[in-house]
């Protein structure tokens, strides 16, 4: 089965390139496909070999669907190895971060819901209390996971997750590493106001 040829549309390609370049602050067209980033990417094997160089190539050729829906966008651990060693100074980790936001804006179902839920729960907790409360944000994160499993009626996964989390909690308690109190920062209102303001601006 030969993969169907990709129709290259210069307009589409340029608009995707401009959007990603601007929002990530990276000059994608500078890439000369040396594949150093692929060799250096620690999660290269986990993403089904969708490595940073191929991600840039998707964007350069205007393949928006492929660019937004691939494993690298979600599983990139933002370790910035690719960008630090890129001879043309392209920080692909910033590109995956941008593509995560673009995927969300395009209401695309994240390929790795757990990762998306983790980061949204973490940040929400941070903004809500001013400081991240581990017990609370992990709770919300697990709830979101459980809800998804519930919808899929995957009770075994829920049970398993519950078991690992409780075991983990117990060892943390045993080693007196479990923090019980509630961390807060009074000035969190300023952060929340900034967040609202930014959302309004983005909305325009």
């Amino acid at each position: 089965m030969t993969i169907p040829a990709h129709e290259y549309d210069p307009e589409k390609a340029r608009s995707l390139m401009n959007e990603v370049s601007e929002r990530s602050g990276q000059n994608l067209s500078a890439c000369y496909q040396c594949r150093r980033c692929a060799a250096g990417c620690p999660v290269g094997e986990e993403t089904g070999y969708v490595t940073p160089d191929r991600l840039i190539r998707m964007i350069a050729l205007g393949d928006r669907r492929a660019a937004l829906e691939n494993e690298l966008v979600w599983r990139c651990v933002s370790c910035y190895t690719c960008g630090t060693r890129c001879p043309n100074d392209i920080q692909t980790a910033r590109i995956t971060e941008t593509l995560k936001k673009m995927a969300k804006e395009a209401h695309l179902e994240p390929l790795r819901p757990k990762i998306a839920d983790f980061h949204s729960s973490f940040l929400e907790s941070g903004v809500r209390w001013g400081r991240v409360n581990e017990m609370e944000f992990m709770g919300i994160y697990e709830m979101k996971g459980a809800l998804k499993n519930m919808k899929r009626k995957d009770f075994k996964a829920i049970a398993e997750e519950l078991k690992t989390q409780t075991d983990f909690g117990l060892t943390m308690l045993k080693h007196k590493r479990m923090h019980m109190g509630l961390l807060m920062s009074k000035g969190r209102k300023e952060i929340q106001k900034l967040q609202k303001k930014a959302k309004k601006q983005r909305g325009k």
């Binding site: 030969t2 990709h6 890439c31 594949r35 160089d53 191929r54 001879p87």
Partner: protein, 1010 residues
């Protein structure tokens, strides 16, 4: 005001050359051989530069030292060249023709006049220091010479590491120096010289990969730089040429090269491409494989930039014959496998799958970068550096710096390979000759010689001198015994042994003995004739003997060095060698060396830019230049070239050049005609043209140029939307691109595939240039370039980056999956396979632009036959030596410039044209040309004109004379001896190598054996 002042004071007839690498040496020799005094300033303790560190060179595999040391010996002995080592220039004042230069020379602590370079001091010196020359792989002593063949080979004391200078003890070197040459009280010296022109050839530093810790240099012992690997490969290197790895001395089996270390990296290192690393990595892989067949070489590269003559063929040979694996994927980090010292490289394979592979040795192909003091250097000479601190030059004057009278050659002008450096060496020589034309010959020394004694009737009275050469011979051969036995040989009137036959005092002794004992032949038993024969010949000539009454018996390279330690056998062999040379000496005859006049004019075939630039340079030097052009107007290929890559405007330059050529009094232009016939020989050619005109001239420059390949692929000719880069360039110059227009360019059309497996070198530049023009004028235009390797080498890499920044899309294609072009509506559709996404891409184009290559000019065949010039398989003329004589032909007096030699860019053509003018200038600067003594003599009585010699002689000296019989033109003869060996009637005999002499040597050897 300065300009007139200079012309009042007479111009200086000497030239300063800053930097003693191959570029500086070429310029020095050209100038010294054409009547100029040369001052060569070198900051190291010996000349040689980077090239002497190399083991072999590409694409021929010639050993670098064998090529460069004859040039070093020649420049070392040249009367008109003063070499100031350990010296740097501190200030330069004045104007072209009259510069005053201050030079600071560091103390050497060894007296050059006394030191004979025997090396005993180095052996006895206790202090070990890491050797910079050997790239830190091994040690040298505190008193040392840079490398075995150093020139001058006077030792030098490294003050910072010498125990005496640091702690006041030791002085071992002084104790053991038999020549008493050590001078601890030596001081730095400052002196001033006056020169007419300055040539900068300081070379470059190499990129130190230590700053890129992820590559593991100086962290994992088995990661070496490419220059360290050159030393590992070299027979004079730390491991004597045995390929071992520094970590544990094991023989590496899997060896990896990582390309572009320090180059093509505007983020972490230097943005330019260093031009030579792709090829030297390929060469190192091949040579390593030759040393040790088990080695499995892999080269990790980004683009294989094999743009030079026969380079692509060399890379193909590496792949097919030597099994070198080329991986188009860059490595991110080099990790070491704990415990084994092996190195783990991870890379992305073509299908995207990541692979870990273990290697025994990793070689980092490091590039060049300007010296750390490049800014200060430029300030001293008052020249403008470009933004990367190279010397700033323009496209149309590639060897002129921003300051008149100061010229630049070699990699200080931009990264380049050895042939281009040598070309620029001759080019700057030409520029200096043009500037100081009238001062030629005003400051050089000429040697007076006593009259030659007539020894024809005398019985042979041979003087035999057997040399110790310090320890080099005496350690293995019983020199005294050889001298004693030698004394009894028939014809020997005097025999003795000497500590150093080549030393100044021994020379004087030989002269005294020749006069006192009325010796009429001299045999010296010492080292290789290659380096010292001219020295001894001049000595006996000073004593009034014809210099060919001399024999050098090599009992060092051919005896003591290769039989180290076997005393009796070596001594017996030394006696045999001496007996043979004495036997030959008995039959030596004096040889008269004639000379021929030189017509100070040159014939230049081809009126393109190469021919015109050569003509202008020669005319400026004061010679007449006959430009013969087939068409009815000058200009050649660049008539349809508008802009160069860096935006310089070509048409005004062309018009200006044509007008200067037509206006120049020394240039005679013959349009619409070709060369009918050329007779005569170097210095005395006579040419008649097809239009009947005829003239005499002393040199010939072949500038027949090339033609653009007319493509047949991709529906060219059928569909008018398929155009070539030239047509696109014209179209852009006239109308400019329209917005949203769609261009797809295809590279390597008609190049790099059989039967034309070579790179035409200019098409990548053309494509990138036009792409930039389009994108700058119409940012929303689509420009896609389908390429096999973008070869924007050297400082041209900036434009490849600029094209990408402007949004030009570059897509790789391979020879076996070429793009497919079809008609689609009004425009065209192009399909190509994208290797990164692993799927086909369909594009649309209003224009498909073919980057067509170059072909040799159709007249090359005729011109080649006319002047007996051979051509390579691609039809380009074959120069005398691909590395060190890129502008000469084997036969004297004929030179080459421009596309006729090989495809090249406009600035490189201009460099080569100026170089050809330089080389021709050297020849034409002599009133008379001395003919070498060691040539073939022809006995017409024995000759039956069987024409075998006529057919075989590569230099065309036998010719069919007016009486129908074969005659021999001694001026063309270089004494190679082919005719003497094939002549059935023994009518040819080479002076000093006659049959009877050689038979006498053989008999002398066989008699003693029986």
């Amino acid at each position: 005001m300065n300009q007139e002042k200079a012309s009042q004071t007479a111009k200086s007839g000497s030239v300063l050359i800053v930097g003693g690498g191959i570029g500086g040496m070429q310029a020095g020799l050209d100038l010294a051989n054409s009547g100029f005094m040369v001052h060569m300033v070198q900051k190291d303790s010996s000349i040689g530069g980077t090239m002497v560190m190399l083991d072999k060179t590409f694409p021929t595999g010639d050993c670098s030292m064998c090529m460069i040391s004859p040039k070093m010996v020649e420049i070392g002995r040249h009367m008109n060249v003063n070499i100031h080592t350990l010296a740097t220039v501190t200030s330069v004042e004045g104007v072209p023709g009259d510069f005053t230069v201050k030079i600071l020379q560091k103390a050497r602590y060894v007296d050059p006049n006394l030191c004979t370079g025997c090396g005993t001091c180095e052996e006895k010196c206790p202090k070990k220091v890491t050797s910079e020359y050997e790239q830190g792989l091994t040690v040298r002593k505190a008193i040392y010479s840079l490398f075995p063949q150093a020139l001058p080979n006077t030792r030098v004391i490294d003050r910072d590491n010498c125990i005496y200078f640091q702690k006041g003890k030791c002085r071992a070197c002084e104790k053991f120096c038999t020549a008493k040459a050590i001078k601890f009280d030596d001081t730095d010296k400052e002196f001033e010289i006056r020169v007419g022109a300055i040539i900068l050839s300081p070379g470059l530093d190499r990129y130190n990969p230590r700053v890129r810790q992820e590559l593991g240099f100086e962290r994992w012992p088995n990661v070496v730089t490419s220059l360290q690997f050159e030393r590992i490969l070299s027979a004079s290197g730390p491991y004597r040429g045995e390929v071992k790895r520094p970590g544990d001395g094991k023989h590496p089996k899997k060896v990896a090269w990582i390309q572009c270390v320090g180059s093509r990296d505007s983020h972490n290192a230097n943005p330019w491409c260093s031009s030579v690393c792709c090829m030297y990595a390929t060469k190192q892989a091949i040579i390593a494989k030759e040393h040790d067949g088990r080695i499995d070489p892999t080269i990790f590269y980004m683009e294989m930039r094999a743009f030079g003559k026969d380079f692509d063929k060399y890379v193909d040979r590496a792949k097919k014959e030597f099994g070198v694996t080329y991986r188009r994927a860059m490595v991110s980090a080099v990790r070491e496998e704990p415990g084994t010292g092996n190195l783990l490289l991870r890379f992305a394979q073509e299908n995207g799958v990541l692979k870990d592979e273990l290697f025994d040795l990793v070689v980092l192909s490091i590039g060049f970068q300007p010296h750390t003091d490049a800014e200060a250097f430029a300030k001293i000479f008052g020249i403008e550096p470009n933004k990367y601190r190279f010397a700033k030059t323009t496209h149309f004057n590639p060897v002129d710096t921003s300051r008149p009278g100061v010229y630049v050659t070699g990699i200080y002008q931009g990264p380049k390979d050895i042939p281009e450096t040598v070309m620029q060496g001759s080019a700057v020589a030409a520029r200096a000759m043009a500037l100081l034309g009238e001062a030629r010959g005003t400051e050089i020394k000429v040697k007076e010689l006593p009259p030659e004694r007539d020894v024809k009737e005398e019985e042979p009275r041979i003087g035999l001198f057997v040399c110790h050469c310090g320890i080099n011979i005496a350690q293995t051969v019983d020199v005294k015994k050889v001298a004693e036995v030698g004394a009894s040989l028939p014809g020997v009137a005097h025999s003795e042994s000497m500590l150093y036959a080549c030393a100044q005092d021994s020379q004087d002794k030989i002269k005294k003995l020749v006069k006192e004992k009325n010796l009429n032949r001299v045999v010296v038993a010492s080292c290789t004739p290659r380096t010292h024969e001219p020295l001894f010949q001049d000595t006996i000539r000073d004593a009034g003997l014809n210099k060919y009454l001399f024999e050098l018996a090599d009992i060092r390279e051919q005896c003591s060095w290769c039989h180290m330690g076997q005393r009796e056998v070596a001594t017996k062999k030394a006696m045999d060698i001496v007996r043979m040379n004495v036997a030959k000496a008995r039959l030596l005859q004096p040889v008269e060396t004639g000379s021929v006049g030189v017509t100070p004019a040159a014939l230049i075939i081809g009126g393109g830019i190469a021919g015109m630039v050569t003509a202008l340079s020669l005319a400026d030097q004061g010679y007449h230049a006959h430009v013969v052009e087939k068409e009815n107007e000058l200009g050649g290929l660049i008539k349809n070239l508008y802009r160069t890559l860096d935006g310089s405007n070509v048409q005004p330059y062309l018009k200006d050049t044509v007008s200067r050529v037509t206006a120049h009094p020394n240039i005679i232009i013959h349009l619409g005609t070709e060369v009918q016939k050329t007779d005569g020989f170097v210095g005395n050619f006579k040419t008649t043209l097809s239009n009947g005109e005829g003239f005499d001239h002393g040199a010939i420059v072949i500038a027949t140029g090339g033609v653009e390949y007319q493509p047949t692929e991709y529906h060219f000719g059928e569909n008018e939307r398929v155009i070539t880069q030239r047509e696109l360039e014209k179209r852009l110059a006239m109308a400019g691109p329209r917005s949203r227009e769609r261009y797809v360019m295809i590279q390597c059309v008609g190049s790099r595939e059989e039967p034309h497996n070579y790179c035409s070198r200019i098409c990548c530049q053309d494509a990138v240039k036009n792409a930039i023009t389009i994108k700058e004028k119409a940012p929303d235009a689509q420009v896609i370039i389908l390429y096999r390797d973008i070869r924007t080498y050297g400082l041209r890499e900036d434009y490849y980056k600029k094209a990408r920044d402007l949004g030009v899309l570059f897509m790789l294609y391979k020879e076996d999956k070429k793009p497919v072009v079809e008609k689609k509506g009004y425009g065209l559709s192009v399909k190509a396979f994208d290797y990164l996404l692993g799927k086909e891409i369909a594009m649309e184009a209003d224009y498909v632009v073919l980057s067509t290559g170059l072909r040799p000019h159709p007249t090359s065949e005729k011109v080649g036959v006319m002047y007996k010039l051979t051509r390579n398989t691609d039809g380009y003329f074959l120069e005398a030596h691909v590395k060190l004589r890129p502008v000469d032909f084997p036969s004297e007096g004929i030179f080459i410039a421009g596309l006729a030699h090989a495809p090249k860019n406009l600035d490189e053509t201009i460099s080569q044209a100026q170089a050809a003018a330089g080389r021709a200038g050297v020849l034409l600067s002599h009133e008379r040309l001395g003919v070498s003594g060691i040539i073939s003599k022809h006995n017409r009585d024995l000759c039956m004109s069987c024409l075998t010699c006529f057919r075989l002689c590569p230099f065309g000296s036998p010719f069919i004379d007016t009486d129908g019989k074969v005659s021999h033109n001694e001026v063309k003869c270089v004494g190679c001896g082919i005719c003497a060996s094939v002549c059935p009637m023994k009518a040819f005999q080479v002076n000093n190598f006659r049959d009877d002499q050689i038979v006498a040597m053989i008999d002398a050897l066989t008699e003693s054996a029986s």
